[in-house]
């Protein structure tokens, strides 16, 4: 079910992709979504993935999460827990309340009820949905659903976190607040994060490293460290400068490919 190898020895790499290729479909319909992607993520590193629409970012996260098999290449994870993935869509369970959705991973880990309750309440507070625990997903707005999905993923407590545009449906203010929260949690739990976003400034705000993917086939074409000291502010000039550079690169790339 998973496409990953665990090598507890290599403590220097939390996630390692070597020549990962992914082909969807067969024959003439085949789409080469990823083509020889090699990427090492160090433990505790925060890596942001940016790239044009349809370039293979979600595909990559799915592969790392072990939900799909690569067509070629090798994915290695340190430790034995599989990474937590926050999908691009909320993917909430429609038959459960917001609380129960967030509680599911805790239940699956076998946490006692009292602890679960406490944890759920805390997580809902983190995403500013404390009053909405009893609602069902269809009663929430788009951004609220996304925040529930965030809470559910955070409930997983895995050392590696994969996030696919987690703040895409949020207004700037809520987003700001959640940036801070995520950074806090990342520091506290010493997480390794692989984060997909279209907002280059968000990437510059959060990342240790920004990786740029090209479209069809998806290849890593650029990678840069963000050396701005933390805490950073989204509208800080250093952050803006990094964003501008990445945007330039992206623009050339998208421009080259046309669409």
């Amino acid at each position: 079910m998973t496409s990953t190898t665990t090598t507890p020895a290599s403590a220097t790499k939390a996630v390692a992709l070597a020549g990962v290729t992914k082909v969807y479909g067969r024959g003439t319909n085949a789409v080469l979504a990823l083509d020889g992607v090699s990427l090492d993520v160090a433990p505790g590193e925060f890596v942001c993935l940016v790239g044009a629409s349809g370039c293979g970012k979600s595909t990559l996260l799915n592969l790392v999460a072990g939900l799909d098999r690569p067509s070629g290449g090798r994915i290695t994870l340190a430790g034995d827990a599989s990474p937590g993935l926050m999908f691009q869509e909320p993917a909430l369970f429609p038959w459960l309340t917001v609380e129960a959705n967030v509680e599911t991973p805790l239940k699956l880990r076998g946490l006692p009820r009292a602890q679960r309750r406490e944890r759920v309440a805390e997580l809902l507070r983190t995403v500013h949905l404390a009053d909405f625990g009893r609602k069902r997903p269809h009663e929430l707005s788009g951004g609220m659903r996304q925040r529930v999905a965030l809470a559910r993923t955070l409930a997983l407590d895995t050392p590696v976190l994969l996030m696919d545009e987690p703040f895409g449906a949020l207004d700037a203010m809520t987003r700001d607040i959640l940036h801070d929260e995520l950074e806090r949690i990342w520091t506290e739990r010493k997480l390794t994060v692989l984060f997909v976003t279209h907002n280059v400034r968000e990437a510059a705000r959060l990342a240790d490293r920004i990786v740029l993917l090209s479209s069809r086939p998806g290849r890593i074409i650029y990678s840069t460290r963000v050396d701005v000291p933390r805490p950073r502010r989204l509208d800080a000039p250093e952050v803006a400068a990094v964003a501008a550079e990445v945007t330039d690169r992206l623009r050339t790339e998208v421009g080259r490919h046309g669409q």
Partner: protein, 294 residues
Amino acid sequence: MASDTLAPATRTDAEISGLDALEIAGREKEASRGARLWAGTWPKLAALALALALWQVVVWTGWKDPWALPGPGPVLADLGRYVTSAALWDGLATTARRAVVGFAAAVAVGLLLGLAVARSRVLRAAIGSMITALQTMPSIAWFPLAILLFQLSEQAIFFVVVLGAAPSIANGVIHGVDYVPPLLLRAGRNLGARGVNLYRYVIAPAALPAIVAGLKQGWAFAWRSLMAGELLVVIAARTSIGAQLTYARDFSDAERLMAIMIVILVVGLLVDAAFGAADRAIRRRWGVLDQGGQ
């Protein structure tokens, strides 16, 4: 479409406070509860009245002799006698008990079979298509086997009921599992649900609507198989609805036959109400209630 005015509460003061609005919502509901009950009842009454009227008119035309097609009057009179007789209640007690036990067994078999076939490639290839084939086998074909295996006991009846209903239930489960949204399966797996837990936390609840639909179809199969199976043997002179139905026909007792049909319909309505309540509860949760019909 865009040309009708629908301003439910034409309020001149555009600025209404939050509390106000909540109260309005509450009051709206209060007012409509009775109306809604009535909205659910009058069509039933109207349908009933229409059916009875039509029936009576046909009888009045003298189209058929009264022993072939009795009118509502005599049938309802016989129904009255029937309802006040021990025969109905004894028969219903026996039949209902058999139906519940047989259906429960069929549910157990059907659910297990369905889940197993739905998620195992080999099993599906081996016996998947056999399920529908079994479903089409008429009950009487199983009678000899039932007697062989269980002699003239109630188990023989249960056997026929289970063979009738379990395939239907299994098919419901398979359908439900087949259409679980892949995204939710992935989400479940990523949240740590594997094996049994994936069933328990994702597949089963996601497939629940289809499973309930399958159970409903299965109930119909179970009940029909039971009506046939109760003819297999009358154990210890115990009367049953199935036996009464057939004997009413054997004795050309059209009034009693129709009275029994009405009883069967009423039982069906009660069971449907239970399934309907379950289904509405699910739909309310899922947020798909109140789209068109109720």
